[in-house]
């Protein structure tokens, strides 16, 4: 190789190294921007219809109370947080927490984030705001771990609601079923009319787990149902077998394309009169309102009158939140009466506080408020209140197989094993 060529190569190498160094420096500057004085990043999975509208109401109030704070709306779409939770975990493990994030009350909050040491306790905030007086005892118990409170509930949802199309029911003289026998008798009549009896949309498997938890609550009753999550009720017992048998029979009455639909697409079938009923949480009410559907009827699913299967969305304070002061102001708003009264009528849920004005809510939500005050409260499985996320994942797997093979004995054995694997049963 001649000298000039070698020199040219050397110069080229030097140029490459210098350019790379400059580029790296620039990139590192871009990665670590000077933090602006006032920002607030809120992570949630509220992206559809009433969910997003409710979130924006909260943001509006927040801007009024905290002018000059820039709000970053970090949402990841997907029912029940199915897509959002992995994204959040990646951020938290990577040391990049949002200022506050949506998390279900109960085992999901405690087992995923609190016992692992990712959250800050909120006892001072609870004392300052007097929240121990306004949140019901059952809710406080699900937010407490080792004597501290770990997040602020913004709403209460009911998981066990049977939604139906009033027009279809009136035309045919049908009544919402009280018992499982009623349910199957009615389902036969619907099928004879060419109507799909039960609409299901379980493209995210949580919707069939949701249906199963409602059946479990209906068959076992509130005490035995709650015992499932503490190990007091035997997963190998005859009640669980009966619940699986009923679930298997129910699955013979669902729309054949259920594994291609989402819960709201399943609700569309009821709205259009193509399906008679759907069993889903009370976010269906907000979906109906957004779709301008006025003929929606509701009732407790078979066997669950007087039982309120509850879940709640809460916001907590991660350790090392980049804008801690703004995050605390956000939590104050989320727990306040003004915040909850602005949020819940739009989101289609009831207040976690017990002092909200019922007149602000629509007819369904008013009935839910009455039931909330009167019914037995039990935690939802599919929505993180009853069991840890890893246990829910095991039950999701059992249900995935069960929905297609409907093998009761196999599913029961797998459920019992899941309880052992979750270190709740022995």
């Amino acid at each position: 190789m001649t000298m000039p060529r070698r020199r040219a190569l050397f110069v080229a190498a030097v140029v490459i190294v210098v350019v790379a160094a400059v580029a790296l420096y620039q990139v590192s500057r871009m990665r670590a921007p000077a933090p602006p004085a006032a920002r607030l990043e809120i992570f949630s999975w509220w992206t559809t219809g009433g969910e997003e509208a409710g979130l924006l109401k909260l943001f509006e109030l927040y801007r009024q109370q905290n002018p000059g704070v820039e709000i970053i709306n970090a949402t990841v779409a997907g029912g029940a947080g199915f897509e959002a939770k992995p994204a959040l975990k990646a951020r938290m493990l990577g040391g990049d927490p949002p200022d506050s994030f949506q998390v279900h009350m109960g085992r999901e909050l405690i087992d995923t984030w609190v016992v692992t040491g990712y959250m800050e306790p909120l006892n001072d905030l609870y004392a300052q705001e007097g929240w121990e007086q306004v949140f019901p005892a059952g809710v406080l118990g699900l937010l407490r771990h080792e004597g501290s409170y770990w997040s602020v509930p913004v709403n209460i949802h009911r998981a066990n609601v049977l939604w139906y199309n009033k027009r279809t029911f009136e035309e045919n003289g049908w009544k919402p079923p009280e018992t499982f026998d009623d349910f199957f008798a009615l389902a036969e009549q619907m099928r004879a009319k060419g109507i799909t009896p039960l609409a299901l949309g379980d493209v995210g498997i949580w919707a069939s787990v949701h249906l199963f938890e409602v059946v479990l609550a209906g068959v076992l009753g509130p005490d035995a149902y709650s015992g499932l999550w503490t190990g007091a009720t035997d997963w190998n017992g005859p009640e669980v077998r009966r619940a699986l048998e009923i679930m298997a029979r129910m699955l013979t009455y669902v729309n054949p394309d259920h594994s291609a639909l989402s819960w709201d697409q399943a609700n569309d079938l009821v709205i259009q009169g193509r399906a008679g009923m759907t069993i889903m949480g009370d976010w269906v009410d907000a979906d109906n309102l957004a779709k301008n559907f006025r003929d929606s009827g509701w009732a407790p699913p078979p066997g669950t009158r007087g039982v309120f299967v509850a879940l709640s969305d809460t916001f907590g304070l991660p350790k090392n939140a980049p804008h801690r002061d703004q995050a605390i102001a956000w939590l104050r708003l989320v727990g306040s009466r003004a915040g909850q009264e602005a949020f819940n009528p739009v989101k289609g849920s009831i207040c976690a506080r017990n002092d909200c004005d019922p007149a602000l809510f629509g007819p369904y939500l008013q009935s839910a408020m009455q039931d909330w005050a009167r019914d037995r409260i039990v935690p939802s499985l599919a929505h993180g209140a009853a069991a840890s996320e890893s246990w829910v994942a095991l039950i999701n797997d059992v249900m995935s197989a069960f929905v297609s093979d409907r093998d009761v004995a196999k599913a029961q054995a797998a459920l019992a094993k899941a309880c052992v694997d979750a270190r709740v049963c022995r």
Partner: protein, 327 residues
Amino acid sequence: MRSTSDRILAAALVAPSIAAVGLFVYGFIGWTVWVSLSNWSGLRPDLSWAGLSNYATLFANPRFHLDIRNTVVFTALLLAACMALGLGLALLLDRGVRGESVFRSIFFFPMAISFIVTGVAWRWLLAPGDPATGRITGVNVLLAQAGLPHLKWYTDHTVLYITPDSALGQVLAGMGLGFLTGPVFGVPVAMLSIVIAATWQMSGFVMALYLAGLRGFPEELREAARIDGAGEWQVYRHVILPYLRPVTLSALIILGHISLKIFDLVAAMSKRGPGFATDVPAYFMFETTFHADRFAEGAAIAVVMLVSVSVLIVPYLVGSMRRESAT
């Protein structure tokens, strides 16, 4: 003969990329293997030694058995479909069609699209609908108009397998192969829709590989074969196809490793599918790690996937290295 300073310069130029690959590829592979041998379950890292227990749990999990079945079925069907279609298209285009570049672009274009987009589009096209209520969309509209039965596509939970009572099943049992009867050795029908979408995406790529191979084929050889009295079919069968063997091998390797670690297409189209009919190891790994927080078990799935891809790739790499050093 190269001078010392040349060698130093060369080493300096490749050193950064060797360091980067060493850390970000091999370092993280090592880290994943380590995690797969630990007790890490829950968000807090726990790297205490667990030995092979995560692998034992994994191979005892019926869901993972179905995942392996699905991967084998998907890979076999995808390779067969893409190779046949890609070679067919390439041979047709090579016959000198008018406007060849237009067709080439059309067939190659899907390759430029992300699997996520392909998955979403085919999810709509193959939407199963509900024949009971007459809500029919997508491809099923065409089927209905042609008087063909309505298909469930990726929501079909049927698995085609040999039952122990069937004649074939009894023959197998007689040969001591009775374990082959049962759904774990079956073909899930729902997987066919994923294969259709993936074939749509990848066959144009195979076509492009073959077309490049055909273009490199010396015309004199073809002429020589003809002079020797070979018909058109014989020219293809005995001259051109053997000549294309390296192309075939490359295409198989590339498609094979894509299909063994497919994730995005399945996630966008059907996720786990009814009864895990379209579940694949990559999707199971994603759920195990990021939904269930069983990080050690998720890492074990990742390692099993890496090994399965290596089984395909390593012999190919060794072979091509031998060939290079021979020349």
